[in-house]
């Protein structure tokens, strides 16, 4: 049998293959360079506009007139060429792709490193740069080196306050920031089957933090149910015994909430080791943890109380925001003193709407805590929405154990 990546790409690990892509997308950041490279390629029409998307999420709404002008140019291009377009406020590209677009078995390429998120559907999904994307615009296909695979067996079930983000921070901590370079991660075992689609997306989202090309879950009944809500019918993918380059087992029964300390994503340790570290700001959102389940879990903990530090919540998409409005999660957040931003990346990439100042300490549900990423001279810790909630109430890092 083969690994899931080998099956989808149709060749054994190590081979180079050219493949048509089922879905390719850019955002307002990478779209600019893609368009420039595309223009230099001197083509008139996109090869397959029906398979291409452009989704504005990185600096939305525009923060100044330079950004606004760049976005205007992309907007015009999208209208001319007729590709799928989502303007400001629609949401984060990876989230929108997960709302009834990407299906199991597909080859998906995004001009963004976290495109590996979509592997949660049993798709081969990976990130490329702008020039690679321009060649895809021109030809509809690209080349891949079929990756070797690291199997991550998830045993047992999440308990207590531990959640999907803690699984992600745990495997990144174990593999290290280059432990998965050039490879794919496959999540297997009964623990994998027990996770919701939202949880799976959180977990595959961070595959790239180990250097991996993608992270995959096998499509199963959970996948079928989730996509069924969007009117898409899918079949389960048979789990086979692939040849794995390495195998790792995570025991979910024993997992506790984890925090990644500045400035490395793989510097994870139990939250209890950081208990009491004072923070200036909490940020809940991003393509890792900006989904409805995340907001609801956060709201469940802060409900009826007041946050002790400034807290920014940014829903991952318009439908996440809408659902939060409909269920009352949104008013809970507002009443607790949170600032709610428009759907998109928010301050995640350090461009606007909540960047930190010199010497400030931030706690965030994002996937990266690189030096200066979310504000020059600041420090960031990464955690789950529950840990973020417990800490927001206290104004310092606090364990969600007993609250969640």
């Amino acid at each position: 049998m083969s690994t899931l990546s080998e099956r989808i790409l149709g060749a054994p690990a190590g081979s180079f293959v050219d493949r048509a892509v089922n879905r390719a997308f850019v955002h307002d950041g990478t779209g600019v360079l893609t368009l420039e490279a595309w223009r230099r390629m001197e083509r008139e029409r996109l090869a397959c506009p029906e398979r291409l998307s452009m989704l504005f999420d990185h600096i939305t709404p525009a923060n100044n007139s330079t950004t606004a002008a760049l976005q205007a140019e992309l907007r015009t291009f999208a209208a001319e060429q007729g590709l799928h377009f989502s303007d400001i406020g629609g949401g984060i590209c990876h989230q929108l792709m997960s709302e009834g677009i990407v299906c199991p078995g597909e080859v998906v390429v995004g001009a963004d490193s976290h495109s590996c998120t979509l592997g949660a559907f049993g798709a081969f999904a990976t990130g490329v740069g702008a020039t690679d994307m321009a060649a895809i615009w021109a030809s509809g296909s690209t080349w891949f080196r079929v990756p070797e695979t690291i199997a991550i067996h998830l045993e047992g079930q999440l308990r207590g306050a531990a959640e999907a983000k803690d699984i992600a921070l745990d495997y990144v901590r174990r593999l290290g920031m280059d432990g998965g370079t050039y490879q794919a991660l496959e999540f297997l075992g009964e623990g994998a089957g027990s996770l919701s689609m939202e949880n799976r997306l959180t977990i595959t989202n961070m595959a790239v933090e180990t250097g991996a090309k993608t992270g995959l879950f096998y499509a199963d009944a959970v996948t079928a149910y989730y996509l069924g809500e969007y009117g898409i019918r899918t079949l389960p993918q048979a789990v086979g015994e692939g040849r794995y380059a390495r195998e790792l087992t995570l025991d979910l029964d024993d997992l506790v909430p984890i925090i990644a300390a500045p400035h490395r994503v793989d510097k994870g340790a139990p939250v209890t080791e950081f208990e009491g570290v004072e923070i200036d700001q909490v940020f809940v959102g991003t393509c890792t943890n900006g989904r409805y389940e995340d907001l609801a879990r956060f709201a469940g903990i802060v409900a009826g109380k007041k946050v002790a530090v400034r807290t920014i919540v940014v829903p991952a998409s318009r439908s996440v925001l809408l659902k939060a409005a409909e269920t009352g999660v949104l008013s809970t957040l507002i009443e607790a003193g949170c600032t709610v931003g428009p759907p998109g990346c928010g301050p995640c990439l350090g461009a606007h709407m909540g960047v930190l100042g010199e010497g400030e300490v931030g706690l965030s549900t994002a996937n990266r805590n690189f030096r200066n990423r979310m504000g020059v001279g600041a420090e960031y810790y990464l955690c789950s929405p529950s840990t973020a909630a417990a800490s927001a109430l206290r104004g310092a890092i606090a364990s969600p154990e007993g609250l969640a």
Binding site: T66, D178, G350, A351
Partner: protein, 157 residues
Amino acid sequence: MTLQGNAVCLGADIDTDVIIAGRYLRTKDRRIWADHVFEDLDPALAARMKGAVIIAGPNFGCGSSREQAPVALKEAGVVGVIAPSFARIFFRNAINVGLPLMECAEVRCRDAAPVSFSPEGGWVEVGGVRHTATPLSARMLDILRHGGLVEYWRRQQ
């Protein structure tokens, strides 16, 4: 092709935010990226990039998919990058924008020492000592010879 320059030594896990910070991305002016390259690591580095061969630790270029990272290095005058391993998106991007790079497990960096390397021959020489490196594939070399994927692709049509 044999390429030459002077060594600039860097550590492991140099991420793309360090190569060019997110705050400089909202422009199409390549000079701006070149001027601010490695700013958060050491503001003095940008001035040393002309004719430099960067010799770094493992996992060079990890993090975001921003193509501005290899473009900034190339624009600043970097001749090539040598490291035991690269983040894969950075690796693809570098080839696509015409920045030579090679994987070499054993090389030891000596700051400012003369370096030469051959992407097709599969070797790197630092201060006169030769090390084996992984040669680039025929397609990658072809793309590099065209100065990047755009030109390569135009010729393919």
